[in-house]
Structures are given as structure tokens and as C-alpha cells.
Amino acid sequence: MKIAVISCIHGNLEALNAVLADIDHQGADQTFCLGDLVGYGPYPNEVVEIIRDRQIPSCQGCWDEDIIDGLNACECSYPSLLAEKRGRLAHEWTDAEVTAQTREYLAQMPLTLRHENLCFVHGSPQSQHEYLLPETSAFIALERVLSTGADVLFCGHTHVPYVRTLSDGQLQIRVVNQAQANAQANSQTLTTPLKRIINAGSVGEPRHGKPQATYIIYDTLSEQTIFREVDYDYEKTCAAIVSKGLPPIFAWRLSKGLEFAEKADDPTHVCER
């Protein structure tokens, strides 16, 4: 079975349409979405409408959650004052723009999706806000995959696609029962088979230095991952960003493949949200 995994669309309608056309062309049997349908981009309602109408299973992203629950970010969401100010501005604009229908859809999105031995999350199984970077410690990475019970964990949120293979994983769990007089520790060692984390990149807000939208095709039989880079009319999205009253710097960053504001680069940070 050939599945397509898309993530981080961020209200970029042009990019989403181009990617969905490419998915159709690739002949994927099923598409999964890892959330962040809204935020920064100019067409949050239209993007949600397409995902809903096409019945694409989608888990909730951090931006989707923030629009429902309000901003409550850990420091990893905003690595600088400037990024924070831009993020807040984008949040306020999106919050004012989204319709009741859009809000309703975002609110009912699940945090995780499962399909056989595959699990789909936005950031990590722990939080939509947590970044699983390629450099995140192997212990944390493995723990996050094991917590899902799946063999392959699909995530987004970093906006940079990657495949990480966790082979020969070994976790040692030690439980100390202080209530017991001798307070002895019970240890258990688990050896895990090969696990994978696959990041799908970003459809609407790529951060790989090019404006092309990215997503992945995964073959469940061969376990092969294909990264797709899709050209789209990003200048149209840039024009819409400006005409709809979003900061012009968002358009410039999108055209450079630089992402709008967020930039996670600390692999040791564990999200506290």
C-alpha cells in the first residue's frame, strides 16, 4: 500500500492544491495529514475545507490547538523575541479569520492517528509542540516511538523532512519502590526491533531553503520512503499574504524557503508544554 503523508500546510492553499495533485499523480492509496492546517498563511478556512471535504485523516497540530485553546507555548515554540512577536501576530490574524466551522473542525482533530503498525503525530506522541529533530537524543527518540506501540512514527512540526532509523534499540527501565523496606530496584531491559521516525516536511511553509512544498510517499510493503518536492505558484501565496494584511516579511521568508518565524534547533530541549 502506498500512502502519502502531508504536514504543516499553514493556510497555504496554492501549495496544498499542488501537493494533492501530485499525490493523485503518484497514485497513493491513502493520504494522512499531520496537522498545522492553519497559521501564518492567508487561507486557513479554505485549507480546512479541502482537508475536510476530501476526508483526509488528520491529527491536530500545535497551531490548530492554539487556535482552539489559545496560546500557551513553551519556549521551544519561539526561539527569539522577534519570532514570538511574529507568531503572536499570525495567531491573532488567524484567530480573527477562521470561521466557526473551521474552529469546530480543528477542535475535533485527534492527537494521534494509527494505521496498522504506523503512527501519525504532529510533533511527538507527547505533545504537538515537541520537536523531534534528527539530532534529538536516541533515547528520547526511541522512547517516543515505543510509547506509541508502532514501528514507524510519522511526524512533522520541524518543517524539514528526514528519515531516522533506530536500530538495536535497548531501553532499561528501573523501578524503585520506596515503600518497601529494602527499597530494591526492579530492572527490566527491553530490546526493540528496528524503529523509524519519518518527518514529512512541510507543504505550506518549507524550511529547506527552497520554496517548493515537501511531503512524503511511504510504501508499506517495501518500507521505502520517497520525498517529494512540488513546485507551486508561491508568488500567488506571497501576494495573498500581503493583500490579506499579514506582514510582508512572511511573504519574503516563504519565497526563500525560510519558514515564517519559528526555528527549532536545540535537540536537547524537551518541550514543557
Partner: protein, 277 residues
């Protein structure tokens, strides 16, 4: 003695002046004038030449200029966007020095001849200017001897940042956007910034070159808003000055954040002192 120093953008005029100042053998007071700037170069020079007197412009009358030039060694640095016609100095003894880079001469001979016509002395600075192609289509003398970087469409923007403290990560983000053209085509930018860790840095961006960052030899400022110079000067084409000012403002710490940073830094310093003891 009055020395007027001019040259293309980024040719090393201030560096040459600094070299002359530290090599001066007589005891005459030193003065530096850089008209129409907020004073980034003046501040850097004053850190290296402590007795330096900094003025914003020449005295208003010829008599006062003559008197000052007799009593002091004055360097008047003309930014590459300023006119090189100096009628007020016509009857005052002075020396005109052009500081240019070797690259200027590599591209066009007439640049050299124009500079030689204007200057009493042409100094070829070792500081390379990466790529210069002069345009003969420009009319005024100022632009005629300048490089491709400066013409009638050139925008200047500068701001004093005194008292402002910047978040380093935000500054990095802003500077990358600035030099990559997010706010218009940047030709030259230089600045002194106060950072959240109490240090001050000098940032310099020359055409076609990587930005350089230099820690300034100043004590950490850990008590309130810094009461010392900081500022930014830039030159470019089609600069969105409003967006630049607003973005820079968004990089600055508010009072509460600054207070919190400084408290943490002082605590850390006290701990390190205790450890050392």
C-alpha cells in the same frame, strides 16, 4: 591640520584614520568629524583613541574652522553618499585624502583619475572591496566617482539605539533578513548593539562579503538601560525603512525582561566569584 578623507563605500576610510591617529607623533589634540551619521565610526574610534574629541560637523565659520585646524589634528571623514565639493574649505589649508581599494583600479581607470583629481593623496587600502564597476552616467561629482553601489537612488537609514538592549537570537534573525534583501537591496550596514548578556558588539556588513561581528572592549552593562552609545547606519536601495525600524524595535528587550536578564547575570557573576574565591 585638517585632513578630509573620502573614498568608496567600505574602502577602509575609518581604519586608515585610526592608523594615522595612533601613529601621530606630536601632542596636538585629535578630533574626528563624521557629518550626517549617528556616530558608529566615531564611537569605535573613541574606544581605541581615548583622548579623541568627536564632533558632529565642522565649525560654522571659516574663522572657527581655521582656528580649530591650527589647534588640533582634525580628520573629517566624508561618507560615500556626501558631496565632495567643499566650498567652505576653499580658503582654509587642508589636505584631501582618498582611501580606495585595489579593486577600484582593477575595474576602471577613470575612477582612479577622478580620485587623483580630487585628492592630494590617494591611499590604496589593503581592505579589499569585492566588486566595483563604476557608472559614468551619473551626473554629480559625488556619484560620478562612486561605485555601482551608490547612485541617486541610494537610501540612507540610521538610528540611535542608545538605551536599547537586543535579544541576540532576534538580532541574528533580523540581520540575516537585512543582508539577504528582505527590506530592500542592502549595500552597507554597520552598527553597535547592546546585547542581553551585557556585552556590546560591532557588526559590519560590506558589499558581497560576510558580516563580521566584533566584541567591543567594554564592561558588561548590568544595571538598567545602557547609558552609552549604540546605533545603526545603513545604505541601500529601495529600503523599507519603516519595516526595518519596526523589526529592530521588535528585537529589543522590554524593561521587565531586561531586569530579569540582568538579575540572572548578576547572580551568575556572584556565583562565579564565590567559586573562584
Amino acid at each position: 591640520m585638517l585632513t578630509v578623507v573620502a573614498g568608496p563605500c567600505g574602502s577602509g576610510k575609518t581604519h586608515w584614520i585610526w592608523q594615522q591617529m595612533i601613529a601621530q607623533e606630536d601632542a596636538k589634540p585629535l578630533a574626528y568629524i563624521s557629518p550626517a551619521t549617528v556616530g558608529v565610526d566615531a564611537y569605535r574610534l573613541s574606544l581605541n583613541v581615548p583622548q579623541l574629541q568627536v564632533e558632529h560637523d565642522l565649525p560654522e565659520t571659516s574663522h572657527a574652522i581655521r582656528q580649530a585646524a591650527e589647534q588640533q589634528t582634525i580628520y573629517l571623514e566624508l561618507g560615500c553618499y556626501l558631496s565632495l565639493d567643499l566650498p567652505e574649505l576653499a580658503k582654509i589649508p587642508h589636505r584631501q585624502v582618498a582611501v580606495v581599494s585595489p579593486d577600484c583600479f582593477a575595474h576602471t581607470d577613470w575612477v582612479r583619475s577622478d580620485w587623483e583629481q580630487w585628492a592630494d593623496e590617494v591611499v590604496i587600502n589593503a581592505v579589499p572591496l569585492a566588486k566595483i564597476t563604476a557608472s559614468k552616467t551619473t551626473a554629480s561629482k559625488t556619484t560620478a566617482i562612486e561605485s555601482e553601489f551608490v547612485d541617486s537612488k541610494t537610501d540612507l537609514w540610521q538610528a540611535s539605539l542608545r538605551g536599547q538592549v537586543l535579544d541576540p537570537a532576534s538580532l541574528h534573525l533580523f540581520w540575516q533578513e537585512l543582508v539577504q534583501g528582505a527590506y530592500g537591496r542592502l549595500i552597507r550596514a554597520k552598527a553597535v548593539f547592546e546585547l542581553a548578556d551585557g556585552d556590546a558588539i560591532y557588526v559590519d556588513h560590506l558589499p558581497h562579503q560576510e558580516t563580521t561581528y566584533q566584541d567591543l572592549p567594554l564592561p558588561k552593562w548590568l544595571n538598567g538601560r545602557p547609558q552609552r552609545f549604540s546605533g545603526i547606519e545603513m545604505m541601500g536601495q529601495g529600503l523599507d525603512k519603516g519595516a526595518i525600524a519596526a523589526t529592530l524595535s521588535d528585537c529589543c528587550l522590554d524593561d521587565a525582561t531586561l531586569k530579569s536578564h540582568q538579575a540572572a547575570l548578576k547572580e551568575s557573576q556572584a556565583y562565579l566569584s564565590q567559586e573562584a574565591a
